[in-house]
């Protein structure tokens, strides 16, 4: 199936949301430290995984002051993509084309305050059913590699809930409203209030439609072109009408309800009504 409007919306929302949080909230921390070897049976035998204690490194070079790595240090020497290193930004690790499991690997990178995921799961499943590993961003957290692939908190889960078209103008122009939501699982109320405040102020924001081909990551969760800037990518797709945040509502899980949860997370919600004016099937 060829790419549809909903696919384009999902890509555009994810990239915009990530950039908006990182730029408006400076929601990241620059870290320097060791990367630790661990076995990953999912990997090709030619790669060895050296992981940091944090998932989801910042990829976006349009975020001021964020340290975006283009390599890691192996036994004190810089080793980049040219040497066959893959940087897995999603899992916070480097994949080295080596057989050695005892290298001294270090790196500098910016870690997002919140992992951002796209999900089809219901709020009930996200908040009540699922068990999470807390990948704390606070000082003094674990100094071992975080295991890959599993979703960890603090995190924000984005989802599309519904899409409605209404006639807008003669000639077949439709007003498409997509209802999207975000469930925030935070470590403390400062983090939660920060995210809710940033996105409550996203009312009237517009962001460009970015097709799936504009997504910056490859199959290793490394950057396709070696670098990525949201501003530049969004700028190359400015010929179509942008998405527009028509309405946004933020709310928090009441403390009384929160205390009945098994985990001690702070939970918030953002409900977006995002519009685009378009012709059908475009």
């Amino acid at each position: 199936m060829i790419e549809q409007f909903q696919h384009k919306f999902t890509t555009s929302l994810m990239l915009w949301f990530d950039n908006f949080l990182l730029t408006k909230g400076e929601a990241f921390t620059n870290k320097t430290g060791s990367l630790y070897y661990y076995e990953d049976p999912h990997l090709d035998s030619s790669f060895k995984a050296y992981g940091s204690p944090y998932k989801q490194w910042v990829t976006d070079s349009s975020v001021s002051d964020a340290n975006i790595p283009d390599g890691i240090f192996v036994n004190g020497s810089l080793s980049g993509r040219g040497a066959g290193v893959k940087l897995d930004f999603e899992n916070g690790r480097a994949l080295l084309n080596t057989s050695s499991e005892s290298l001294n690997v270090t790196g500098s990178f910016a870690v997002k305050d919140f992992n951002i995921y796209y999900t089809n799961e219901t709020e009930d499943d996200l908040i009540i059913e699922k068990k999470y590993t807390v990948n704390s961003r606070l000082p003094g957290a674990s100094q071992n590699a975080i295991s890959p692939y599993d979703q960890v908190v603090p995190a924000i889960f984005l989802s599309n809930e519904s899409m409605v078209n209404k006639p807008f103008a003669l000639g077949g122009m439709e007003e498409t409203t997509v209802r999207a939501s975000a469930v925030i699982l935070a470590e403390d109320s400062y983090q939660l209030d920060g995210v809710l405040s940033i996105f409550a102020d996203s009312h009237n924001e517009a962001f460009n439609q970015i097709p799936m081909s504009g997504h910056p990551m490859n199959e290793f969760a490394d950057l396709k072109d070696g670098s990525y800037s949201y501003t530049d990518v969004a700028g190359t797709y400015d010929s179509q009408r942008p998405f527009y945040v028509e309405n946004v509502t933020t709310s928090k899980l009441a403390d009384k309800a929160r205390k009945s949860l098994a985990n001690d997370l702070f939970v918030g919600f953002i409900d977006f009504d995002i519009q685009a004016h378009r012709r059908r099937f475009q």
Binding site: T122, E123, D124, D125, I127, I128, E161, S162, R179, T249, T250, S251, K252, L253, A254, K256, A257, K259, S260, L261, A262, F269, D271
Partner: protein, 196 residues
């Protein structure tokens, strides 16, 4: 037939609004109240309202949960809550006021403006018990998760008593949204606009 002088016509036109205002207002109010009561009746007889008004022991007559449990428990209200009262207050606040007097082609009338609530006025007074920034009334139209039900279930004591004993599990995905406040207000706004 004798023709009235222009001065007399002008004098009558000038006095008519004052003389007829009370009568016109009385007639307008009668129609207005009839329509307002009709709107409130329709709201109270909506299956969602009927189910919520019946409290935690009601059946799922609105069909929004596929017949399992009921909305009162699903949303997470506590026993003794009356979730419809804030909406009724908003609907009751519908009023009218005189804005100007029309004089056209020897006819005289009064223009009234109906102060009619927007859906957001209802949504702002209908917070979910477990997330006060979210509106349950809006959720009825756009979708609700089963979080209220599950949170109550996971807490040591049930707040709405009866519903927690439901043996079947209620999931967010099972909720079927239905037209509620927005469509009701849209319908009656058109009717109030046509009021003469």
């Amino acid at each position: 037939m004798a023709k009235l002088d222009r001065d007399v016509i002008l004098a009558i036109q000038k006095q008519a609004p004052r003389v007829g205002r009370r009568q016109i207002k009385k007639e307008f109010k009668k129609e207005f109240d009839k329509l307002k009561n009709q709107m409130i009746d329709e709201f109270l007889n909506h299956p969602v309202s009927v189910e919520l008004a019946a409290g935690p022991s009601a059946g799922n007559i609105s069909g929004t949960l596929g017949g399992v449990s009921n909305l009162f428990a699903f949303i997470g209200f506590s026993q003794g809550d009356d979730p419809l009262i804030p909406i009724l207050k908003v609907l009751q606040s519908t009023s009218f006021r005189q804005v100007d007097i029309i004089k056209k082609n020897r006819k005289v009338g009064i223009n009234y403006l109906v102060d009619f609530p927007e859906p957001n006025a209802v949504f702002s007074v209908t917070p979910l018990p477990w997330a006060t920034g979210r509106s349950w009334a809006k959720g009825i139209e756009s979708g609700l998760s089963g979080l209220g039900y599950l949170l109550r279930k996971s807490s040591a004591s049930s707040r709405s008593g009866v519903a927690v004993q439901s043996k079947k599990r209620v999931r967010g995905g099972k909720f079927q949204n239905v037209p509620y406040i927005s469509s009701l207000l849209k319908k009656y706004k058109t009717k109030f606009d046509k009021l003469k």
